[in-house]
């Protein structure tokens, strides 16, 4: 339980999407409508029945039992009956459809060949199907740097030995590892120092070798493969190989190194002082063939510089800083010779510390601290972590889509900053606000300084952004852009100084600053701090939707914390991919995942939800209105078969097909125009406005269905042979209009008609007609009442009914058609505008 993994682990909680929360809100509204309807009907029933003529006319007398039932009990059962009659207004089938849509829909992500990566032979992976639509709602993107923005394939770029710069030409290095051959020396350091440096690179690491014997080949050509937990170390060992020093292997504590003269040097590995993130360095103690005991240490500059003799630092420091600015990962290398006597002591201390039963870690740390002092700096290395393919384009697109991108990394500030510039998170005109240990300085009055800075930045930002926080997204494009850089220690200062009464204040000021910045870079973050930041943003006002993307085990906590977690199938194992909701091979895939898939899924499911509520309200409203004309007697308007099959058979498949296939805008357009993403941000399609629109549409249509048929029935007969229709014909006319209207309404909304849509929409209508004939065509032996017998066929034999059905469908769809046409006129003229302005 004390592994890094376990310590950084956070409980996995159920993630629910914003759409689901909206559904719940809608449900409450509809539940309220249902209760109101039932209550109104029950009340009116008893008002109406207070006249005994209505309650029990001579033609419709009650049984003795009915008369004797308690009135309260009757009222209660009446209320329940009304609930049963109107319960279809709560779209139970919607949940099934939503689940199906999510489950089936998520296949499209894993099927997408754009997410397929040739190198790892894998595509995207969907671990949950609950959050598809959330991909279209993201406000904040938190990304890891190493392995996410960058390849995490380290390449040794250059080194500096005693302040002299060495830069290798990679191609030549492999073949000609002769004495001086392949290296470009700018100017040379002492030969001994060079060799010492390269030996240090070869020895100071925890890399293991794996030999792949090529069995068939006659020659004993063996191929060395290095394995390590850290790609940096491999890069360093490979780098040393380029310069002629090859690490051959480690057997029984004997490290073998092949030097530039092809001789094997053997070192006895005495101790390894492991790397940890607090010390940020590691050391080895080795004994060479001559018996000298040497300590080699490598680590972050901040960890090494204080521990070496001062006069050596300057040149190397400048070098390291320059490298860091270029975005390279730098490490410093130092050594120290240990006299045999000293070694005795050190050895004893180390063993003692390792054996300690209590406070072992602290003791070891103390011993390590003791040992790693007074070292001699030899040089520094620079390792490049290349940016991933299209990382910059992706970030730009995300920015254009109105997302805020935060980079959270464990790297040092300079490195991270240059990566951010490289991937265009910060533009050249972005003004950077820094909240780092550097700006705050190591003074005692840290907090005061922090406070000052915070206030200052806030002033600056508030001045720049007038109060219109709503048009923030627009404001971005017009105003000066700001970027914020903060590091782990400052962040913990802001978040954790709880004893300070002003800490809460700090946090809110900090958040205000964050919200105004287009890009935020958090460097030197511990894994849990990443999650802390995500949580902080998640709980902001308006609860923005957060997305985390990362590749390593250290990103797991942030992936779990955010609304949507995305794992990159990177080189640091599958920890992140396993814990994520979605995993993709590369960072660039995020663009299509959000802009195209996310957008489409959101539009699809939002439409699905609205449509379901709409079609059920349309369905039940006539039934409610009918109660006013049947003495509130719970007489159903539709036959039981229609009531059951409406949601299951007649209207389910078209919306399912729509919600799987709809592309109101082409995928290519969505991917190439990120601004479209803003249109649906903030759960736009499930806000009160659209909800009211759908509800009123449904109410309008339901009223048209019912009263249209009602007025149609104000006549002796609808047939030319003067025969009369009954109540089931009435209901069937309403139901026919209903099924056709809601299906055609969906047809009007469909922008992307594949053959499946055609099949399902026209098929559903055909099925309805076929079923109605079939259902009415047979005397069903299991039915008590043959009330639908030939009702449908007889209904269709009347010209008036046909005309009425067509008219009512047309009236119901008329507002919708009008709206669509108006929208298109507007869009068309907007496009014309756009064309003109772009051509001008």
């Amino acid at each position: 339980m004390e592994t890094k993994m376990a310590l950084n682990y956070q409980g996995k909680s159920q993630k629910r999407s914003a759409v689901e929360k909206s559904i719940n809100a809608f449900l409450i509204v509809y539940l309220f409508i249902l209760l109101t309807k039932a209550a109104v009907c029950t009340t009116l029933k008893y008002v109406w029945q207070s006249n005994p003529n209505n309650d029990e006319p001579w033609y419709n007398q009650k049984t003795q039992k009915e008369r004797e039932t308690l009135k309260v009990l009757k009222m209660f059962t009446d209320f329940l009956s009304f609930m049963v009659l109107f319960n279809f207004i709560i779209p139970v089938s919607m949940y099934v459809t939503v689940e199906m849509q999510k489950f089936l829909g998520s296949f499209f992500i894993s099927w997408d060949k754009d997410f397929y990566d040739e190198e790892i032979h894998e595509g995207a992976l969907v671990n949950t199907s609950d959050l598809n639509e959330e991909l279209g709602q993201v406000d904040y993107v938190f990304t890891d740097k190493t392995g996410t923005l960058t390849e995490n394939s380290m390449e040794f770029i250059e080194c500096c030995i005693d302040g002299h710069k060495y830069r290798g030409a990679a191609q030549e290095a492999e073949g000609l590892s002769e004495t001086d051959g392949p290296l470009t020396y700018f100017d040379k350091a002492d030969k001994n120092r060079e060799e010492l440096f390269l030996r240090a690179l070869c020895l100071c690491h925890t890399v293991e070798t794996k030999t792949n014997d090529v069995v068939d080949a006659a020659t004993e050509s063996t191929e060395l493969t290095y394995i390590s937990s850290s790609p940096d170390e491999i890069a360093l060992v490979k780098g040393a190989k380029k310069y002629g020093f090859t690490f051959v292997g480690n057997q029984n504590g004997q490290m073998k190194v092949e030097n530039q003269r092809k001789e094997i040097e053997v070192y006895e590995l005495l101790h390894t002082l492991n790397f940890d993130s607090v010390r940020r360095r590691m050391s080895v103690i080795v004994k060479n063939q001559a018996g000298d005991i040497i300590l080699f240490c490598k680590g972050a500059d901040s960890a090494v510089f204080p521990r070496v003799q001062n006069h050596e630092i300057e040149l190397t420091k400048a070098h390291v800083e320059r490298n860091a600015m270029d975005g390279y990962r730098t490490l410093c290398v130092a050594f120290k010779e240990i006299a045999p006597d000293d070694y005795e002591r050190i050895n004893r201390q180390l063993i003692e510390a390792k054996m300690a039963l209590q406070d072992r870690e602290e003791k070891m740390e103390r011993v390590f601290d003791d040992i790693e002092t007074n070292m001699n700096l030899i040089g520094a290395t620079a390792v490049e972590d290349r940016l991933q393919d299209q990382a910059a384009e992706t970030i730009e697109a995300l920015h254009a889509a109105g997302l805020k991108v935060w980079v959270l990394t464990g790297d040092k500030m300079e490195t991270a900053k240059s990566t951010c510039y490289a991937c265009r998170l910060f533009q050249t005109n972005t003004e950077l606000l820094e909240l780092t240990t550097k700006t705050i300085e190591e003074s005692e009055r840290k907090e005061d300084r922090l406070h000052e800075l915070l206030i200052e930045y806030r002033k600056k930002l508030l001045h720049d952004f007038p109060k219109s926080t709503r048009s923030l997204k627009k404001a971005w494009t017009e105003h000066q852009e700001y970027g914020l850089i903060i590091d782990g220690s400052t962040l913990s200062l802001i978040l954790n100084s709880s004893q300070d009464s002003g800490s809460h204040n700090y946090k809110s000021i900090f958040l205000q600053i964050c919200m105004k910045c287009t890009a935020v870079l958090c460097c030197r973050m511990a894994p849990l701090q990443k999650a802390q930041i995500v949580r902080m943003v998640k709980n902001l006002k308006g609860s923005p939707i957060t997305l985390s993307i990362g590749d390593g085990a250290n990103d797991v906590s942030m992936i779990l914390e955010s609304h949507v977690g995305i794992g990159i199938k990177g080189k640091e194992g599958r920890q992140a991919a396993r814990n994520s909701d979605y995993s993709v091979p590369k960072f660039k895939h995020l663009k299509k995942l959000l802009l195209a898939h996310g957008h489409l899924y959101y539009v699809r499911i939002a439409h699905l939800v609205q449509y379901f509520f709409y079609k059920n309200l349309c369905f039940i409203l006539p039934q409610f209105l009918y109660q006013f004309f049947c003495g509130f007697s719970q007489q159903p308007l539709y036959d039981a078969a229609y009531l059951t099959m409406y949601n299951i058979c007649f209207t389910s498949l078209p919306i399912l097909a729509y919600s799987l296939l709809e592309q109101h805008i082409n995928i290519d357009t969505l991917t190439s125009d990120p601004r479209l993403y803003m249109k649906i941000s903030g759960n736009a399609m499930l806000q009160l406005g659209p909800f009211l629109y759908w509800t009123f549409l449904a109410a309008f249509e339901g009223t048209v269905f019912f009263f249209g048929t009602y007025f149609l029935f104000q006549t002796s007969s609808l047939e030319e042979n003067a025969k009369v229709y009954g109540n089931w014909t009435f209901g069937t006319i309403v139901f026919t209009v209903l099924v056709f209207t809601v299906t055609l309404k969906l047809a009007l909304d469909t922008r992307f008609w594949t053959w499946i849509n055609h099949f399902v929409i026209w098929g559903s209508l055909a099925f309805y007609v076929f079923f109605s004939f079939f259902w009415g065509g047979i005397i069903w032996p299991f039915l008590k009442q043959q009330r639908m017998y030939f009702v449908f066929a007889q209904m269709l034999s009347s010209v008036s009914t046909w005309l009425a059905i067509i008219l009512l469908i047309f009236i119901s769809l008329f507002p919708e058609i009008l709206l669509i046409v108006l929208k298109n006129v507007k869009r068309r003229s907007a496009r014309v505008h756009h064309l003109i302005s772009s051509s001008a």
Binding site: N54, C630, S716, S717, V825, R828
Partner: protein, 353 residues
């Protein structure tokens, strides 16, 4: 819902149009150039239809008479007062006199209309036994429970036909008399009481129980008529094809109406001199007043109506078509104006730039 699909990601995804969401698709756009003509066409078509419907509805004649008998309104009021509070009400008859100044274009149908009568009340609507009405012997003896309290008679005999609907069968009867010349004698106009029910109801859904020794009466032995009936079901009509459960009056009544005010077809006038309609002259409708409606605040009427291709008189459909059609054309014009405005604006913009 959480599910894992480690295996699926293992190989390259299929490159098919479906999996890549690139199915060929029709992407219609309701642009103004399509919809504007559509609006005008639909509008014109609707107006045409509306006019047709309106004029045929206007061409249909209806002549009705409320014979409920509210005190002092007509000679049926005597019957109404006589019947009040007595069950069963005594046989009573009254008459309605009317004169036709011109031919009442036929074919003419005779309807009766009841109002405030809730045939669509749920308790009333389920109070029937379709199995019994389909002539099933077992159901004849054992009516379903829904029929209660009209399931068994006081003597514990099964009621046939059972249920509230059957029990409340409309039992007023009408006969029509025509006086050819002034002062002449009245001649009875033949009323065709068949062909008033749905074909499928009369031929399939409603069946008499199998005859016993060729007698329908014996088939119904051991059952009781509904309490409000004066005669058993097998005596509803002397015509063997129109008696018992397949009596057309009964079949028509059993198709419950949709609304509390409803009409039901009583007879067709199509025989002899009256096939073309009712010629001008004085008429008398003799009404046997049995059916009490005052008790529940209802009304009853008798109506003569002709029928066209669209059914009975109903201006609604015609007017609705006219309104929607004109609305279509109106919006068409508005859209046209908006459309032209937009185009003008765009052209202006073009000029400016």
């Amino acid at each position: 819902m959480t599910w894992s699909a480690t295996a699926r990601g293992a190989h390259q995804p299929d490159n098919t149009a479906f999996t890549q969401q690139r199915l060929p698709a029709w992407q219609p756009l309701l642009s103004a150039s399509i919809t504007l003509p559509l609006f005008f066409c639909v509008g014109l078509a609707f107006i045409g239809l509306g006019l047709g419907l309106y004029y045929s509805s206007n061409g249909i004649k209806e002549l009705g008479y409320d014979y409920t008998g509210y005190p002092g309104t007509s000679n049926c009021s005597l019957c109404a007062t006589a019947g009040r509070g007595r069950s069963p009400p005594p046989a009573c008859s009254c008459a309605w006199y009317f004169t036709l100044p011109e031919l009442f274009q036929g074919p003419v149908y005779l309807y009766y209309e009841l109002s405030n009568f809730y045939q669509n009340n749920r308790r009333y609507g389920v109070s029937r036994d379709d199995a019994q009405l389909s002539g099933l012997s077992s159901a004849l003896r054992h009516p379903v429970n829904e029929c209660a309290p009209y399931q068994y008679s006081a003597a514990r005999l099964p009621i046939a036909p059972c249920g509230a609907i059957a029990n409340s069968l409309f039992n007023d009867s009408f006969s029509l008399w025509h006086q050819r010349g002034p002062g002449g004698s009245y001649v009875e106009v033949p009323l065709d009481r068949t062909g008033i029910a749905w074909w499928t109801d009369y031929h399939v859904k409603f069946r008499n129980p199998p005859l016993v020794n060729g007698s329908l009466a014996l088939a119904f032995r051991g059952t009781a008529p509904p309490p409000n009936w004066h005669r058993p079901v097998y005596e509803l009509s002397p015509d063997p094809n129109n008696t018992g459960f397949i009596n057309q009056d009964f079949v028509v009544w059993m198709r419950t109406a949709a609304l509390p005010t409803f009409r039901k077809l009583y007879a067709r006038i199509r025989q002899g001199n009256y096939s073309a309609g009712l010629p001008r002259g004085a008429y008398r409708v003799n009404i046997t007043y049995n059916y009490p409606v005052l008790g529940f605040g209802g009304q009853k009427s008798v109506i003569f109506s002709s029928i066209s291709w669209m059914g009975g008189k109903n201006p609604f459909l015609g007017i609705a078509y006219l309104v929607v059609g004109s609305l279509c054309i109106l919006t068409g014009f508005v859209m046209l104006i908006v459309y032209i405005r937009y185009q003008d604006q765009n052209e202006e913009d073009e000029d400016e730039e």
